[in-house]
């Protein structure tokens, strides 16, 4: 279930990632970006040579702790303001192209 983030970072297929991100790339673009991505991953890969066993977690560098809200409801956006953002709306709902399950 739990997997290290670094385990999969050795090689990343640009075309695959583009597909996940719904970005359409030409072959020329994909080739160019693949080279850049390989360089970036190789650079980040340098970190693997370090022993970080004793290093504190750095997934947060803000120094903030336990920033939370108390469980008291407050009004959000008025319905009209929220719906003003919708490209298409119907029945007070956002309408999107049909999604197949």
């Amino acid at each position: 279930m739990t997997m290290n983030f670094s385990e999969r970072a050795d090689r990343m297929d640009v075309r695959y990632v583009a597909r996940l991100a719904r970005i359409r790339l030409t072959d020329a673009e994909a080739d160019e970006l693949q080279g850049q991505l390989d360089d970036i991953l190789a650079f980040v890969g340098e970190l693997k040579r370090l022993d970080v066993q004793e290093a504190p977690p750095t997934d947060d560098s803000s120094g903030n702790r336990n920033i939370w809200h108390e469980d008291v409801p407050r009004p959000g956006l008025p319905h009209e303001a929220a719906m003003a953002l919708a490209p298409t709306a119907r029945h007070g709902q956002f309408v999107v192209p049909k999604i197949m399950e």
Binding site: D59, D60, R65, I67, V72, R74, V95, V96, E101
Partner: protein
């Protein structure tokens, strides 16, 4: 299943009972609000909006962990799970992957008369998605549910039958409702389940190829789907076929599971740490304080009811099935002092009357004090049982004080010996044949005469006293 054994694991999503959403102060999702009225830039996923953790949601997830004996790591953090679907406009769900709030733990279940321990892998905190309605040519989205606090409890594959899976969910649900963690109403989708199933030959250790059934939300559906899926896997293997790891969908109407091959890339979620949320740092003192807030759990309460009130196991089980009923019983028993009598009334008349009206105990008009007073009147023989049931019905429907109702309705039991003598003589005079029968040794004849006395007294005679008086008169 003789040649095969099954391994079933569950991922249970539970909607926490909080007033606000997981990462913003919008009201948490309740059914019936007009669509898109409980929303803000955070739960609509607008660019630049920043999430802020709901402390109460964190507390409730940790409480759940404490109830099942999880280890609570002092440092926990959030991750982004990336996927593209319009129910999640940020294109990621905030969840916990690397460092969940609760690790390990277990829930004891009883199935087929044996006790079994189901291990829990972890519990993590996350947010719910928006609600999508699929129409013929488009889909409509309501974001009211978006960002509602969910916790996901992941078990080890320790269950081996559909019955055990249901026993686990029942036990879990009972605990969550007891502790006020969730209303856990399945019909409203407060508890939704992904079910992982695999089979392997008996005597081997390596788990078989699993299938995952997504988004199950009724116990009956889960039981049927599991029964179907286990048989499908067994039939496939016995016919020499092989299984593939896949996500399947339960079609309740057709009673079959179907492969969902559509999302080829769906399982690459590209988890990474959520940079917009600082970690959760708990300390031992805070966890200890929360631990003190845990209510008594059903199993412990059952044991205590047997021990302290001298109740049979059956009574204790019925009374503790719902916390409100257990509380009601205790309030009445402490007042009345006759625990078994209170138990009989609660399990009998009260639950029957509630069932007939389709009411919950919170709606009942008869207070625990009134029930205790009613029981005291019976114990003191002020009223007899039929009269008590009549008073109960009035208390149940209208509330009030039992003593006042007894007086108003003239239900005082006749224990006055003069009146009783009269009734007995009248009954004997009216049925000389029965009197003869009794004197000839037919014991059952006495009950007929007691019945006549009850009738003459309009139900108010003390039946035991009537029998005594009759027996004395008949033997002279």
């Amino acid at each position: 299943m003789s040649k095969w054994m099954a391994s079933i694991g569950l991922e249970v999503h539970v909607q926490l009972k909080t007033r606000t959403k997981m990462f913003c102060s919008c009201p948490a999702h309740r059914e019936g609000e007009p669509p898109n009225t409980q929303v803000c830039p955070v739960c609509l996923g607008l660019p630049g909006a920043l999430p802020v953790m709901n402390r109460e949601a964190i507390r409730k997830t940790v409480l759940t962990g404490l109830m099942i004996g999880s280890k609570i790591p002092l440092r926990s953090s959030f991750d982004r799970k990336n996927y593209f679907y319009p129910d999640m406009p940020k294109n990621y769900q905030i969840t916990q992957q690397a460092a969940p709030l609760c690790m390990g733990g277990s829930v004891d279940i009883q199935s087929a008369g044996t006790l079994k321990t189901i291990r829990v892998n972890h519990i993590h905190q996350e947010e719910d998605a928006a609600k999508i309605t699929h129409l013929a040519n488009s889909s409509e989205i309501d974001f009211n549910r978006s960002g509602t606090p969910l916790m996901e409890l992941v078990t080890e594959p320790d269950m081996s039958t559909p019955d055990e899976a249901i026993a686990f969910l029942t036990a879990l649900r009972e605990m969550l409702v007891y502790a006020g963690i969730s209303d856990a109403d399945l019909e409203l989708g407060h508890m939704r389940c992904d079910v992982n199933t695999s089979i392997r030959p008996v005597g081997t250790d390596k788990l078989g190829v699993k299938s995952e059934l997504k988004n199950m939300n009724t116990f009956r559906g889960i039981h049927r789907a599991l029964t179907y899926e286990l048989k499908r896997q067994m039939d496939t293997l016995e016919a020499g076929g092989s299984l593939v790891q896949e996500t399947r969908r339960w079609d309740d109407a057709a009673g079959v599971t179907l492969s969902m091959r559509s999302k080829e890339y769906a399982h690459d979620y590209r988890y990474f740490p959520e940079p917009d949320l600082p970690p959760v740092i708990l300390d031992e003192a805070m966890i200890a304080r929360w631990r003190c807030e845990l209510p008594e759990l059903p199993a412990a309460k059952r044991a205590r009811f047997i021990q302290d009130y001298g109740l049979p196991e059956y009574d204790a089980g019925v009374l503790t099935a719902e916390r409100a009923i257990a509380d009601y019983f205790e309030a009445a028993a402490q007042k009345a002092g006759h625990p078994k009598a209170v138990s009989n009334w609660v399990m009998g008349e009260l639950l029957r009357a509630l069932g007939e009206k389709g009411q919950s105990i919170a709606e009942a008009r008869i207070t625990p004090d009134a029930l205790a007073a009613l029981i005291a009147l019976v114990e003191k023989k002020t009223i007899n049982m039929p009269a008590a049931k009549e008073v109960f019905q009035i208390l149940f429907e209208q509330g009030g004080e039992p003593e006042a109702i007894v007086k108003e309705k003239g239900l005082l039991q006749v224990s006055d010996s003069g009146a009783m003598e009269d009734f007995a003589e009248q009954a004997m005079a009216a049925s000389p044949k029965v009197v003869e029968d009794f004197r000839a040794g037919k014991e059952a004849a006495l009950m007929f005469l007691v019945g006549q006395v009850m009738k003459l007294s309009r139900g108010k005679a003390n039946p035991q006293m009537a029998a005594d008086v009759l027996r004395r008169k008949l033997s002279t």
